[in-house]
């Protein structure tokens, strides 16, 4: 096992990038990065053919550490850059990593349209329910009643459920995991990358500094214990009532459907156009 | 270099095919007659209805200002467009109106032809009134051969409507050929009032 970790570190992390990383001790982002690397390793993908694009925020800092083709784009816009890249070179494996605010607030429009369009991209969304990097302001996934830097008296808005939003918007593959359920996470990310079509993996993570601390949720270990206690599989969730599912985290694959592939459709259009001209 | 600009304005309402007629005329001038040609238009947000204006400037020399300065020829397809766009009419210009809709004329140098009635009754399709008018304008300007006008029409209209449009074009040219321009009065104002 240590040899494998050593190899993954050697094969996938950038040697010339100065560590340590920017994330706080105990942050779930490192766990996601590990899961992403293991998923890519298990799929035996060529690094030259991998693109990882991110937006702005803590999650946005992930690409710089890995030895792929990497982009750190503007806030909320990672999917738009990824769209251009994938269309310009469909042979590339294009992944994005975003935070909850990044993907569903400022980038919300791009997110639902990328899902609707169903271009073959993979969107990893780390949902820590807060804007971490900017200091704990409420995000679209901050639960009702929570405290945040901009909700001193308790949050009066209601949270998005990212994975369900992606299903409704038309994504081909949607899954949810947490940073506690790591082996499952490795598997879900690998499935998402392999899927032809737009795939979304929502990952519930802990921001004990900006969210947990304000809401008296304890240290990272305690928060992860919470994920473990609240998690319920998709299969189990199907047997539970709405009241029973309240405050639970449904994990697993929410949807996995086959739809016409965007780049293949595009090629059909090119063939028609060439015949006509 | 003497400026030999010839300036034509088309006025009508949206959906009457005014802009298409101007585009075809510009293509006849630019592609088939070998003139320099500029075609411009102004329009409002409406796709149908509302006033619509299109202009064509042709010259044997390179065209600087692309819009009409003073009209040599003004085609008005209805009264509202005539009233709105008659300004900057050249003293000895030529006004051509669709007498189906235009009843009041602001100039004695006017030719009235019932384009819409011809399209409706003789061709059997009111929609081609613009092409009937195009035929008349092309001929009255004396800048185009009927062959080249026909080529330009054929190049623009869809294949299945080709015959009816060619028929419309010739109907317009025929109506115009029956007009004797020599009988039109000269303007009482002089070219001194011509703008730059």
């Amino acid at each position: 096992m240590p040899e494998k970790v050593e190899r993954l570190r050697h094969d996938y992390l950038r040697h010339d990038k100065k560590f340590p990383h920017v994330w706080c001790p105990g942050c779930g982002n490192g766990i996601v990065l590990g899961a992403l690397i293991r998923a890519i390793d298990s799929l035996k993908l060529e690094k030259d053919e991998l693109v990882l694009a991110s937006g702005i925020g803590c999650a946005g800092r992930m690409p710089v550490y890995v030895d792929f083709n990497t982009l750190h784009t503007t806030h909320g816009r990672a999917l738009t850059f990824a769209t251009g890249i994938k269309l310009a070179n469909p042979s590339l494996n294009v992944l994005t990593v975003m935070g909850d605010g990044d993907a569903t607030a400022i980038g919300g429009n791009h997110f639902i349209h990328a899902a609707r369009r169903n271009l073959d991209l993979t969107a990893i969304i780390i949902n820590n329910q807060i804007y971490g990097m900017t200091g704990g302001q409420y995000s679209p996934t901050t639960p009702y009643g929570s405290k945040a830097a901009t909700a001193a008296y308790g949050h009066i808005e209601h949270a998005f459920s990212i994975a369900e939003l992606a299903v409704t918007a038309g994504a081909s593959f949607v899954a949810r995991g947490t940073v506690y359920h790591v082996p499952l996470l490795d598997k879900l990310i690998a499935q998402g990358i392999s899927k032809k079509g737009f795939s979304v993996i929502e990952i519930i993570s802990n921001c004990h500094i900006q969210y947990g601390r304000r809401n008296k949720m304890g240290d990272p270990v305690t928060m992860m214990q919470g994920f473990k206690d609240r998690a319920v599989t998709v299969e189990k969730a199907a047997t539970l009532s709405a009241e029973e599912l309240h405050d639970r985290i449904t994990i697993g694959v929410l949807t996995d459907v086959d739809k016409p592939n965007y780049t293949e459709e595009l090629q059909k259009i090119r063939d028609i156009a060439k015949d006509k001209s | 270099m003497k400026d030999d600009r010839y300036e034509i304005r088309f006025g009508g309402s949206g959906g009457q095919g005014i802009i298409l007629a101007a585009v075809i005329l510009a293509e006849a001038a630019g592609v088939y007659e070998g003139y320099y040609a500029c075609q411009t238009q102004s329009y409002g947000p409406e796709a149908r209805g509302g006033r619509s204006k299109a202009e064509v400037v042709i010259s044997r020399n390179e065209i600087d200002y692309p819009k009409v300065i003073q009209m040599d020829l003004f085609l008005a397809m209805n009264q509202a467009a005539l009233d709105a766009y008659f300004f900057d009419f050249k003293p000895n210009g030529l006004l051509v109106v669709d007498s189906t809709f235009v009843k009041q004329l602001p100039s004695s140098r006017a030719i009235s032809i019932p384009f819409t009635r011809i399209a409706r009754d003789d061709i059997g399709k009111e929609l081609v009134a613009n092409i009937v008018a195009l035929g008349a304008v092309g001929l009255l300007s004396r800048k185009f051969s009927s062959d080249n006008l026909e080529k330009a029409v054929i190049a623009r209209v869809p294949q299945q409507f080709r015959d009816i449009n060619v028929q419309a074009l010739h109907a317009g040219m025929k109506a115009a050929s029956e007009v004797d321009l020599a009988y039109l009065p000269r303007s009482v104002t002089t070219d001194e009032e011509k703008e730059v």
Partner: protein, 377 residues
């Protein structure tokens, strides 16, 4: 092909599409907006036949993001919009500046802030094109005045963009974009097309933002084996974020130096009857056509008038404007705005009288207006 077959009547917006295709553009992302939509419509027809990609995105920010992404993946890319959409693009346009991503943005200007007058001509976005995105940045802004310009300048815009790794803005207006004009398009083999310089060293030696005499680093393409990091953060020459003052300073100054180095070819103007001119018009875009008509008329009246037409608006062509200001006792700057380029002319002026015509009613400036003003100068 016969001569007749190559002579075409094209709209300005159509000529922009033809120019882009001739320059090798194979990607367009955009969002509908009057008076620029014809560019998207024609691209959706022409690009697939050329093996390229057209996509209508959910908004203009997304369009700009997709254009940058496609360019990073090695495909020359275009977007087209009007004032309100151009404002939305600005954030990602800044990214293209800082990450040095070649791309071309057409802005068919309309009148007024906000929705303004969507179908009327204006030149209100001159300063937005220069300073619309945040922070200090170099950018190239070109203007078009005729349909054949739309073709030539679009080719040129792509060439400059590739050569200097900088976004190039083409400012058009309703008059230029919607005028149909008889033009001869040059044969493809007669068109000079410039490609970005790709790395010539092995991937392990590649330093993505390494300085050189031109100040323009060689650009690798995503997927070609030169794995590197692209970021909107100020970065060191390896592309990694940095806040070390000496690295930040070197980066910022190189951004400007690469454009300054190219002033001679970037700053383009055209002169008409300037040899003996005593008064001159300095104009750009469609208004330069009115101005050309007006100076000819003024010459007939015995006024020694000339025209300096600005093709490059930014970097402001001081080198070409300066001799006109020295030569003429007065210059007239007519614009369809309250004085965005006249302010630049006044900024570089030391010796002449600068007069303006500012029209902001959504109407085209006529030759008569310019002529009357010239006679009074």
């Amino acid at each position: 092909m016969t001569e007749q077959a190559t002579r075409q009547v094209l709209q300005g917006n159509e000529a922009i599409v033809e120019g882009a295709l001739a320059a090798g553009c194979r990607f367009f992302a955009g969002y509908p907006i009057t008076p620029a939509s014809e560019i998207a419509e024609l691209m959706s027809l022409r690009l697939p036949a050329a093996g390229g990609t057209f996509i209508q995105m959910e908004d203009e920010i997304a369009s700009m993001g997709a254009v940058i992404g496609a360019s990073l993946a090695g495909v020359k890319s275009l977007t087209a919009t009007s004032g309100p959409g151009f404002s939305l693009m600005q954030e990602n346009l800044g990214y293209a500046c800082v990450a040095e991503v070649p791309c071309v943005v057409v802005n068919v200007m309309r009148a007024g802030p906000s929705t303004g007058l969507p179908t009327s001509p204006a030149q209100g976005d001159v300063m937005q094109a220069r300073w619309g995105t945040h922070g200090d940045h170099p950018i190239i802004v070109l203007s078009v005045s005729t349909v054949s310009d739309c073709f030539d300048i679009t080719v040129h815009a792509f060439n400059l963009s590739e050569k200097y790794r900088v976004p190039v803005i083409i400012l058009s207006d309703e008059v230029v974009s919607h005028t149909r004009e008889a033009v001869f398009l040059p044969a493809p083999e007669k068109i000079e097309v410039v490609e970005r310089i790709r790395p010539s060293v092995p991937p392990e030696w590649y330093i993505p933002y390494e300085d050189n005499s031109r100040g323009v680093p060689a650009m690798a393409v995503l997927g070609d084996g030169y794995r590197h990091h692209v970021t909107g953060l100020i970065h060191d020459n390896k592309g990694f974020p940095t806040d070390r003052p000496e690295e930040v300073n070197a980066f910022q100054r190189r951004q400007f130096r690469k454009i300054t180095n190219g002033f001679y070819e970037i700053q383009m103007t055209k002169s008409f009857m300037m040899e003996d001119a005593e008064v001159a018009v300095i104009a750009y875009g469609s208004v330069s056509r009115s101005a050309l008509h007006a100076i000819k008329a003024a010459r007939e009246k015995g006024v020694k008038a000339g025209l300096l037409q600005l093709i490059t608006l930014f970097p402001f062509p001081k080198r070409n404007v300066d001799p006109v200001l020295r030569q003429c006792r007065a210059v007239l700057v007519p614009e369809m705005n309250m004085g965005q380029i006249s302010r630049e002319v006044k900024r570089v002026n030391l010796s002449s009288k600068v007069v303006t015509i500012n029209r902001v009613d959504g109407q085209f400036i006529t030759p008569t207006e310019i002529y009357n003003k010239l006679l009074s100068m």
